[in-house]
Amino acid sequence: MSHAFHYLDDVAIADLAFDASGDSLQELFQSATCAVIEALADPTTVGSTWRQTIERTAEDPAELLFDWLSDLVYWKDAAGVVFNRSDLTLTRQDRGYWKLTGLLYGEPVNGSVQTLRADVKGITKHLYEVKQEDMRWHARVVVDG
């Protein structure tokens, strides 16, 4: 994966924070998704035998990103999986709503073959922001780990 995100050294002393960006909102969502996936485990060590489609709509893209990233954390525990990648599309709907369709790929946790990292437990609103600046979308996310 080579999406635009980097983990932050000086934010969220006890947990994990990252900045993600993209030329479009969809690219931003993909970058932020990769940041969460890579925080959980090295995706190159994770297979894709498990799949889950997720659809969400929201008026505010910041809320949509927050809910989508929270979905990743939810499925990690509910299905006991870590992720390899996600394919997602973001489309503008009527009345200003955004619709996200995401397909998550992963496999059940298996520490003997996967390089596991942090057990991300929640997406927080601490310092959370999604903004467009200089024609590029940016998000700052602090996750509780």
Binding site: A12, D15, D77, G80, V109, A118, K121, G122, K125
Partner: protein, 483 residues
């Protein structure tokens, strides 16, 4: 003295500092920070901002407090304490934390280091096998929804009923391991799905299971230590740090959303989104309190099941029943919780986030076993430096709503710690120093390096000198399991 804030910070005593209400618009009470001058100087700007934000919450009484292990959290600082009136005040998930009833548990043994050292590798392997840790770990207990609801309502009592512990364990758990008022109908299906398979698991991050040694020269209060079965002479004890896992996190996330909407309805504004709150007496406030109690009870049950597994691991390795090895529970404390307690101001909902209840001798809220001594307070340090056993005091009841520190507190972010050292290197160095570490994630191990934490001895000294707890014993690690 140079501090990481422009606010006026007045010295009240050698270990107590106060930020007056004039320093931030909306502060209803002063903010008080317990710290030595050196600790205060090292505190990040977030502590000062967040503790003064907490001082603005409707219905707060006396002071917003921060303990010496305080650092930047979400909404409340870690180490934060606030007591709010049950009629006019609010309840805030930000004052409890995502990991509801994250807490500490200490188990004593009759074993000494000489008994354990030759078998330490096997013991740690057995513990690592029996107590799952790390990302996505699930426990050995399989529950249906109704049984999981029983866990939410009955907490550690459910475990005893099902054979995961001894009846007398309940006397050694805060609230007897079962908080009343838990209502599973206030918990989402998502929270249930996340938590139903996680009973008996450690998690990751700063959660751990540690085999420790208590040497006689590290016991500061022999009388109290003896009363709790801590005898020194290189005695082996086991410490557990974990909470309600994904279940509690989902409860917190669910209700932060509910409270964002509720604040608009009740006309409440807060300085930070993570302080989202609702009147304690409102439907939303009571629903959260009921759901939070479900998570708190589940955390008590989680630590109880882990205790059962620890006893089984010791029995397997040493070939004797756990009872014969004196594996009694010293105590179990919550350090992320909100509870209704009575003080001179009346009934208050006391939020402790990274802070431990510290009831003094004679407290009617303690089981008879601890009424003479006061409540044990278990404080975890970094995996390299050791931990402490303290005792609650009347001073804490008088000054801090019976609250004290919970651990050492970080000074370095996880990302910085990972850049400074590799997990494999830390594991090797610790082995050379006589501490055997088993970790699911090497990057997770690097995040928990000792240099990323404050010196716990300085933190303990601060609360001891402030009189809000007294030091009983220092515990040194010889084996550690991390997620």
């Amino acid at each position: 003295m140079k501090l990481n804030t422009e606010m006026q910070v007045n010295q009240i005593s050698d270990e107590l500092w106060e930020i007056p209400t004039s320093e931030k618009e909306g502060m209803l009470v002063p903010a008080r920070i317990y710290a030595t001058p050196a600790i205060l100087q090292s505190m990040d700007v977030g502590v000062f901002e967040q503790v003064t934000n907490v001082a603005c919450l409707p219905g707060i009484r006396r002071y917003a407090l921060c303990m010496p292990d305080g650092h930047w959290g979400y909404g409340f600082p870690i180490g934060g304490v606030a007591a709010l009136d049950v009629r006019s005040g609010v309840i805030s998930p930000g004052g409890v934390g995502y990991d509801i009833n994250c807490g500490m548990r200490l188990i004593r043994t009759d074993l000494i280091r000489e008994d354990v050292q030759p078998h330490l590798d096997r013991l740690m392997t057995e513990l690592f096998h029996r107590v799952p840790a790390g990302v996505g770990a699930s426990g050995f207990i399989r529950l249906d929804r109704l049984s999981f609801e029983d866990v939410m309502v009955h907490g550690a009592r459910w475990c005893i009923e099902w054979g995961f512990g001894w009846h007398r364990d309940l006397d050694a758990i805060e609230e007897g391991g079962c908080i009343t008022g838990a209502d599973p109908s206030k918990v989402s299906d998502q929270a249930v799905s996340r938590g139903i398979n996680q009973l008996g698991t450690l998690g990751s991050g700063n959660h751990y299971l540690e085999v420790q040694v208590v040497s006689s020269d590290r016991i500061r209060d022999k009388e109290t230590a003896t009363a709790w079965g801590i005898t020194g002479q290189d005695q082996i004890v086991v410490m557990v740090h974990c909470g309600s896992r994904g279940f509690g996190h989902q409860v917190a996330s669910d209700y932060l959303k509910v409270f964002e909407r509720a604040m608009r309805r009740y006309g409440i504004s807060v300085k930070d989104q993570q302080l989202a709150c609702a009147p304690f007496a409102s439907v939303e406030g009571q629903d959260y309190f009921s759901a939070m109690n479900c998570a708190a009870n589940t955390a008590f049950a989680n630590r109880q099941v882990i205790t059962h597994q620890i006893r089984k691991a010791f029995a397997t390795v040493f070939g004797r029943p756990a009872e014969e090895m004196g594996m009694e529970l010293v105590y179990d404390v919550a350090h992320n919780i909100a509870k209704v307690e009575r003080y001179s101001e009346g009934e208050l909902v006391v939020h402790r986030k990274g802070s431990t209840r510290a009831l003094g001798p004679g407290s009617p809220d303690l089981s008879p076993r601890y009424r003479m001594t006061g409540q044990p307070v278990i404080c975890g340090g970094s995996m390299e430096t050791g931990s402490y056993l303290l005792v609650g005091t009347e001073g804490a009841v008088r000054d801090t709503f019976a609250s004290t520190m919970h651990g050492s507190g970080r000074t370095m972010s996880r990302a910085q710690a990972k850049k400074a050292a590799r997990g494999e290197q830390i594991q090797k160095q610790m082995k050379q120093r006589g501490i055997l570490v088993k970790a699911v994630s090497m990057s997770g191990l690097a995040e928990e390096a000792g240099f990323a934490y404050k010196n716990i001895s300085e933190v303990v000294e601060a609360v001891d000198r402030a009189g809000i707890t007294k030091t009983v014993a220092e515990l040194r690690p010889i084996g550690n399991i991390k997620g």
